[in-house]
């Protein structure tokens, strides 16, 4: 099953990378609001159901993919893989 994990700096956590991106975009003439920079992890999960895949992915996020102190995560599953 294909999955995508989105990891973002938590709300309220200062994100200097996002601020730098925002400043650069403005210099290019784009009128953007707040930018935040996170990361995307695409992976293949071996699971027999979407529920099982989701619970595995949650454990992956809690144990490795995100640091819960400063990052939040979001899991997207490509469920139509029959």
């Amino acid at each position: 099953m294909r999955a995508t994990v989105l990891v973002r700096p938590k709300g309220g956590i200062l994100d200097p990378q996002g601020e730098a991106v925002e400043r650069s975009l403005r210099q290019l003439g784009f009128e953007v609001g707040e930018a935040r920079v996170g990361r995307v992890i695409d992976l293949e999960v071996d699971a027999s159901s979407a529920d099982e895949a989701r619970s595995q992915l949650e454990r992956m996020c809690e144990n490795l993919l995100a640091n819960p102190l400063i990052e939040s995560y979001e899991i997207e599953l490509e469920e139509h893989s029959a």
């Binding site: 200062l14 990378q17 730098a20 490795l64 640091n67 102190l69 400063i70």
Partner: protein
């Protein structure tokens, strides 16, 4: 009588690059350092552990995030739980945080730039195994060199776990509350971003880092005597 040289492990991860400096410096202040490869299933019999600086596992994902799963880390956790002194320097600090042996996390510097310079540090606690040779309130000069040293403590992180602070106006990375070094609640695990192993000889700018390493060596020696008796 010559004092016993306690054995202190210096862990070596793929990408560690201050392991030999740490071993050299520990030896200069009276330890018998032993380099220990990260894949060792067990921590050898030692009385102190140092996690050195570097870029373990290329800093992939987050600094220290992968290194904490190294086989030897289980032995380090047991050693720490048994009260043994564990010191993490720079990348070692990042690893200890990711491993949950220290609270908080280290983030990319607020400036987004790598910093490499001597910084003045204020000793906030002189009663830990890592600062016993320092005076409370003393200023130490020790170099930093890192891209990810902005310490972000958990909410309500207690003041008494702050051991070293960057002197006023000298914070090189945006660390909250100017924190440069912290200990765990039990006081036997410490992490700091500055590199004491690069400051053990006045010829190289400062000998102040020697106070921290020598304090650790004292603690390790004491542990080796109590283990022997």
């Amino acid at each position: 009588m010559t004092e016993r040289r306690p054995r202190v492990a210096v862990l070596v991860f793929p990408g560690s690059n201050d392991d030999r400096d740490a071993a050299w410096a520990l030896s200069a202040v009276g330890a018998d350092p032993q380099l220990v490869w990260h894949a060792e299933p067990k921590l050898p019999r030692v009385d102190g552990v140092v996690l050195p600086g570097g870029f373990s596992y290329g800093d992939y994902l987050r600094c220290g995030a992968i290194a904490r799963f190294a086989p030897v880390m289980e032995g380090v956790a047991d050693f720490a739980a048994d009260g043994g002194p564990v010191l993490g320097i720079c990348n070692g600090f990042q690893i200890l945080c990711e491993a949950g042996l220290l609270p908080g996390v280290l983030r990319p510097n607020q400036s987004l730039s790598f910093v490499c310079r001597d910084v003045p540090l204020v000793v906030e606690r002189a009663d830990t195994p890592f600062t016993a040779r320092c005076e409370l309130g003393e200023t130490l000069t020790i170099p930093v060199k890192h891209g990810e040293g902005w310490y972000h403590p958990p909410d309500d992180f207690p003041e008494e776990q702050i051991v070293l602070r960057y002197a006023p106006g000298e914070n090189p990375n945006g660390s909250e509350r100017d924190i440069a070094g912290v200990v765990n609640a039990d006081g036997n695990v410490m992490g700091l971003m500055p590199h004491p192993e690069h400051a053990v000889d006045p010829l190289l700018g400062s000998g102040d880092g020697g106070l921290i390493l020598a304090s650790l060596v004292d603690a390790a020696r004491e542990r080796s005597y109590s283990r022997a008796s």
